[in-house]
Amino acid sequence: MSTPVNNPTGESGQTGAISEEQPRRSLKFSGAGKTGIVVILFWITMVFIGPWVAPFHEAEFLDEALFIEPGLDDPYPATDFLPPGDVAYLGTDYLGRDTLSRLLYGARTTIGVSLLSTLLAYLIGITLGIAAAAGGRVLDSSLSRLNDAVLSMPTIMLGMVVISAYGSTLPVLIALTSLIYASSVFRIARAFGLDIMVSDFVDAARVRGEGLGWIIRREVLPGMILPMASDFGLRFVYIILFLSGLSFLGLGVQPPQSDWGSMVRENLAGLPYGAIAPLIPALAIASLTVAINLVVDDISAHHGGKLAEKII
C-alpha cells in the first residue's frame, strides 16, 4: 500500500494536485557496513603508503641483537617464528623477517593484482555482456556458448591447467584471472542487459529511431551501474580468494615479492609448533574480504535483495 494517494479531483496538475512526494532513496549503511568501509579504506591507504610506514623492509632479516633481553644471558636468541613482541609487533616469519612489515608491503601485491584483474574482468565481461544482450541472436548464442564452456570448469582447475602450461608470471596470472572472472561478469551483465533491452522504454527509444549506441549509453548503462557496483565488490572478493589460493599452493605470485597468500604457505611449517606467522596474513585477507562483503550486503539490501538472486 505504498502507492501515493491520489487526489480525488482527478488530479489535474493545474490545480496543484501534487501527490505525496517520495524522497529519492539514499543509500544508508548499517554499523557493520560502516566498519567495513573503515577497514577497506585502511587497506587502500596501505597500498599507497605501506612501505613508508612499515618498521622494516620486507626482505630484511631482523638482527639478533634486537632480541637480546637484558635479564637472560643469551647472545644468539632465535629470530624465527617469534610471537608478537616489542620489536616485531606481529612476530617474525620462518626466516626471521618482520611479519607486520611484510604484511604492509604485501598489501600492494595482493590488492593491486586482484584489483587490476577485477577491472580487466569487468572491462571484458561488461563489453561482451552488453554486446550479447544488444547484438542479436547469433552473437548472443555464440558468446553464451563460449562462456558456458569456461564456466563448466571449476576455476581452480582451469587455473592449474593454464599455470602448468604457461608458468605463473604476473601477466599470466592477471590474464588468466581476468578471463575466468570475465565469464561470470558476462553472465550478469548479459542478464541485466537483456532485462533492460526488453523494457518498454528501450522500445520507445527504438521506435523513435535511436541508434544502438545511444540506447546502450543512455538507456541501458545507467540502470546497470548500481547493481553491478555491488557485484564488483563480490567479484573482487572472489578474485582475492582465488589469487591467494593460488599463491598458497605455490602457483601464484612468486618470491621474492611478498604476497599474503604465499606468506601463509611459507610459514606453514611453523603451524604444528603453534607459530601464528601463517595465521596473520590469512587474517589480513579475511579482514579485507569480510569488510567488502559487509558493504556489499548493505548495498544489495538497499536493492531489495533482488540482486542476490541474479548473482546466485
Binding site: M1, T3, P4, V5, N6, P8, G10, E11, S12, G13, Q14, G16, I18, S19, E20, E21, Q22, R24, S199, D200, F201, D203, A204, R206, V207, R208, G209, E210, R218, E219, P222, G223
Partner: protein
C-alpha cells in the same frame, strides 16, 4: 446478539511509525451481519485490501495494527494469541485472493490445496473433505468435478482456477468469506460466469461475504451494502440502492461519474462518417504477423491474419479484443517494432518498410507509440525534461531555451505544471506518469498516435480523466488515434471507428454507431453483453442471453481452419463454420462482418 463482524475504530499504520505521514487505515468502523454481502469499494491506495485482511487478523509485512478492534461473533481477533488466530483463518474466515494463478501453489495438486485447511484444522476427515470439495466443484459449475482434484494448477484455465479458489475458501464452511478483487484479472466474457458462480455459491452456503473491488458495476450485481473507502477512511456507507442512486459524498459521486456508460450506438452522431476521405492517414492492408522464423512455415505462430484496417485523418480507430487476440501485436507491427510477415502498412497511402531500421526518421516521427505501462515506459534514471527533451532534439534539433519552452508547452498540453520537468518518474503518481508518457509521444508532433491499453493500469477516475485529455487532444489537433483496449466502454466513449479482433482476425469493423448496433457479429454481441452495467439485476439478465450461455467455459483457440469463434458461437453452423473460412460481408457505410450467417440472421 452482536453482528457477525464488527470493526471498531481500526487504525493500521506503517510498522515503526514516524516516517509515514498518514495511517493506511484511519479509524474505520463497520458492521456485517450473517448472510450479508458487504462491498468494500475504493481505488488503489485506499486501503481496501488492508482493511479486508484485518478480518483475518493479518497485516501485510511492513504494516501493523495500531488501535481499534475487529470482532467476529464478539471475539476480538486482534487480541487473539497467534495460535488462535491461525485456527480462525481458513476455518471461520477465509480469503479469496485477486490472482488465483499466483495464489495456488504450483507444486501441489489442486485437491490437496482445497481440502488442506479444513483437514488440518480437524474439521473434516480427508475423505469427507474430498467429498465436500467435489460437491463444491459441481456447485461452482466446474468441468469433470470427480477428477479435478488430481490435477495441478497449471493444467486448468484462469477462470476455472478462480472458481477453484472459491472452493478452497468454502471447504471449511467459514462464517465469513473475504473476496479480494476476485474477477479483476479476468477477461470480461469470463468474468460473468465466475461472478455468477460466486453469487450462487455464497447464497447457497449462507456465508457472509466481504467483497473488495474497485468496480461499482460488479458491486451492483453482488452486494447488499456498500462501504466506500477513500484514503483509509470510510467516505460513505449504505445500501446498494442508496449509494448508486442517491450518493451523498463528492467522492462517491465522482466514482459513479467516472463509470463509463455502457456502449450505446445512439450516443454517436451519424454525421461523422460523412467526413471520410479518400486517402486514410494510416492503412493496414492484408497484414499477417506473428512470432517465430519467417519462412520456415509451420514453426510460426500467426498472431494476426489478413488484418485490414484504416484510420482517417483526425479520426480515432478503436481496436477491441480479449487478451491474446493480437491487438498489441497490431500496434507493434504498425510502429515497426515487429516486422510483418505479409501485408503493408501505408502512411498517407505511402507504404512503409516493415522494420524500424529501414524506415526514415521522418516516417518514424509521424507515428508515435504510447505504451501501456507508464512505469516501464519511462526510464527511471531520466528526469521528465530529459524524457521530453530527447524527441525534441532528435527530430527537430531543438536545444536550450527553445527546448525548455517546448517542454513547458507539452506539460501544459497534458495538464501538468511546468515544475514537473525536474522530477524523476518515481516522484510521480500513476496518472501523472501516463501523462508524461503521452507528452513524450506528442513531443514528436506525430500524425498517428498508437495508444496501447493506456488506461487499463489506472484507477477508474484517473482513467476517465486521461480519456478526457485524449478527447481534448483530438479536438485541438489533427492527430489520428489508434486506441487499443480490452474495455469496450472505453473504446465506445472515444473511438469514431471500431475494429473487433478475435484470435487474430478482424471479425467486425465499421463506424462506432454501426458496430455497436445490430446486426452484430456474434462475438461483438457477446462483448457488449459482457460489459457490466451499473444496475442491479444485470448479471441475471445477461446470463439469459444465448451468447453468454454458449461461451461459458470455452477457451479461445487459434485455428487455421474455419471460424475461430466456432466453439463459443451460439449461431454456429456445424459442418460449415468449423470447415470453411467465413466470408467478409459488406453491409455498407464502411461496415463489415466476417461470418457465415447472413445480415438478416445476425
Amino acid at each position: 446478539m452482536p453482528a457477525l463482524l464488527e470493526i471498531d475504530n481500526l487504525v493500521i499504520e506503517a510498522a515503526g511509525g514516524g516516517a509515514s505521514p498518514a495511517p493506511v487505515i484511519n479509524g474505520v468502523s463497520l458492521q456485517l451481519d450473517a448472510g450479508e454481502v458487504l462491498a468494500l469499494i475504493g481505488e488503489s491506495g485506499s486501503g481496501k485490501t488492508t482493511l479486508a485482511l484485518s478480518t483475518l487478523g493479518y497485516a501485510k509485512p511492513g504494516l501493523e495494527f495500531r488501535a481499534g478492534e475487529v470482532r467476529l461473533n464478539g471475539d476480538d481477533i486482534l487480541a487473539m494469541p497467534a495460535d488462535e488466530k491461525r485456527r480462525l483463518r481458513g476455518q471461520r474466515v477465509s480469503y479469496l485472493a485477486q490472482s488465483a494463478a499466483a495464489a495456488f501453489n504450483p507444486a501441489l495438486r489442486i485437491g490437496a490445496q482445497v481440502t488442506e485447511a479444513s483437514v488440518l484444522h480437524g474439521q473434516l476427515s480427508q475423505t469427507e473433505a474430498d467429498r465436500r470439495a467435489t460437491d463444491l466443484y459441481r456447485a461452482l459449475g466446474l468441468p469433470d468435478p470427480d477428477h479435478l482434484g488430481r490435477r495441478y494448477p497449471h493444467q486448468v484455465s484462469g477462470g476455472q482456477l478462480q472458481r477453484l479458489m472459491a472452493a478452497m475458501a468454502l471447504c471449511g464452511k467459514p462464517d465469513l468469506l473475504v473476496l479480494d478483487e476476485p474477477t479483476t484479472a479476468l477477461d470480461v466474457t469470463t468474468q460473468i460466469e465466475v461472478l455468477k458462480a460466486f453469487k450462487d455459491v455464497i447464497r447457497q452456503e449462507g456465508a457472509a461475504a466481504l467483497y473488495v473491488t474497485h468496480d461499482l458495476s460488479i458491486v451492483a450485481q453482488i452486494a447488499d451494502r456498500i462501504v466506500v473507502l477513500y484514503a483509509g477512511e470510510v467516505e460513505e456507507y449504505g445500501t446498494v440502492d442508496d449509494i448508486l442512486n442517491r450518493p451523498q459524498h463528492r467522492y462517491t459521486r465522482q466514482l459513479i461519474g467516472a463509470v463509463r456508460p455502457p456502449p450505446d450506438s445512439t450516443l454517436r452522431p451519424e454525421s461523422l462518417e460523412e467526413t471520410r476521405q479518400d486517402v486514410p492517414a494510416l492503412e493496414v492492408k492484408d497484414l499477417t504477423a506473428g512470432y517465430g522464423r519467417k519462412h520456415a512455415s509451420g514453426h510460426t505462430v500467426k498472431v494476426l491474419r489478413d488484418v485490414h484496417v484504416a484510420v482517417g485523418q483526425g479520426r480515432s480507430l478503436g481496436v477491441i479484443g480479449e487478451s491474446g487476440c493480437g491487438k498489441s501485436t497490431l500496434a507493434r507491427v504498425i510502429s515497426g517494432l515487429l516486422p510483418a510477415m505479409q501485408g503493408d502498412v501505408l502512411l498517407k497511402g505511402q507504404p512503409l518498410k516493415p522494420s524500424l531500421r529501414q524506415r526514415e526518421r521522418r516516417q518514424l516521427q509521424k507515428i508515435q507509440f504510447v505504451f501501456q505501462m507508464a512505469d516501464n515506459a519511462l526510464n527511471p534514471h531520466q528526469r521528465v525534461d530529459q524524457l521530453l527533451g530527447r524527441p525534441l532534439e532528435f527530430y527537430f534539433g531543438l536545444s536550450g531555451e527553445e527546448k525548455r519552452q517546448r517542454i513547458t508547452e507539452l506539460l501544459h498540453m497534458v495538464e501538468l505544471p511546468a515544475e514537473f520537468s525536474e522530477r524523476y518518474p518515481e516522484e510521480l503518481s500513476g496518472g501523472q506518469k501516463q501523462r508524461v508518457n503521452l507528452a513524450r509521444a506528442l513531443a514528436a508532433s506525430p500524425e498517428i498516435l498508437l495508444c496501447d491499453e493506456v488506461i487499463s493500469a489506472l484507477d477508474t477516475i484517473i482513467g476517465a480523466s486521461i480519456i478526457q485529455l485524449l478527447k481534448r487532444l483530438r479536438e485541438q489537433t489533427d492527430v489520428s488515434f489508434v486506441f487499443i483496449s480490452h474495455d469496450l466502454s472505453a473504446i465506445a466513449s472515444f473511438a469514431d471507428d471500431i475494429a473487433v479482433l478475435y484470435a487474430g482476425l478482424v471479425v467486425e469493423q465499421g463506424p462506432a454507431n454501426r458496430v455497436l448496433a445490430p446486426p452484430y457479429h456474434p462475438y461483438t454481441r457477446l462483448l457488449i453483453a459482457s460489459v457490466p452495467e451499473l444496475s442491479q439485476g444485470w448479471l441475471e439478465r445477461t446470463l439469459e442471453m444465448r451468447e453468454t450461455q454458449a461461451s461459458i467455459d470455452r477457451a479461445v483457440e487459434i485455428t487455421d481452419r474455419g471460424c475461430p469463434f466456432y466453439r463459443r458461437c451460439p449461431l454456429a453452423i456445424a459442418g460449415t463454420c468449423n470447415q470453411e473460412a467465413p466470408p467478409l460481408r459488406n453491409l455498407g457505410h464502411g461496415h463489415s462482418i466476417t461470418c457465415h450467417r447472413s445480415e438478416a440472421e445476425l
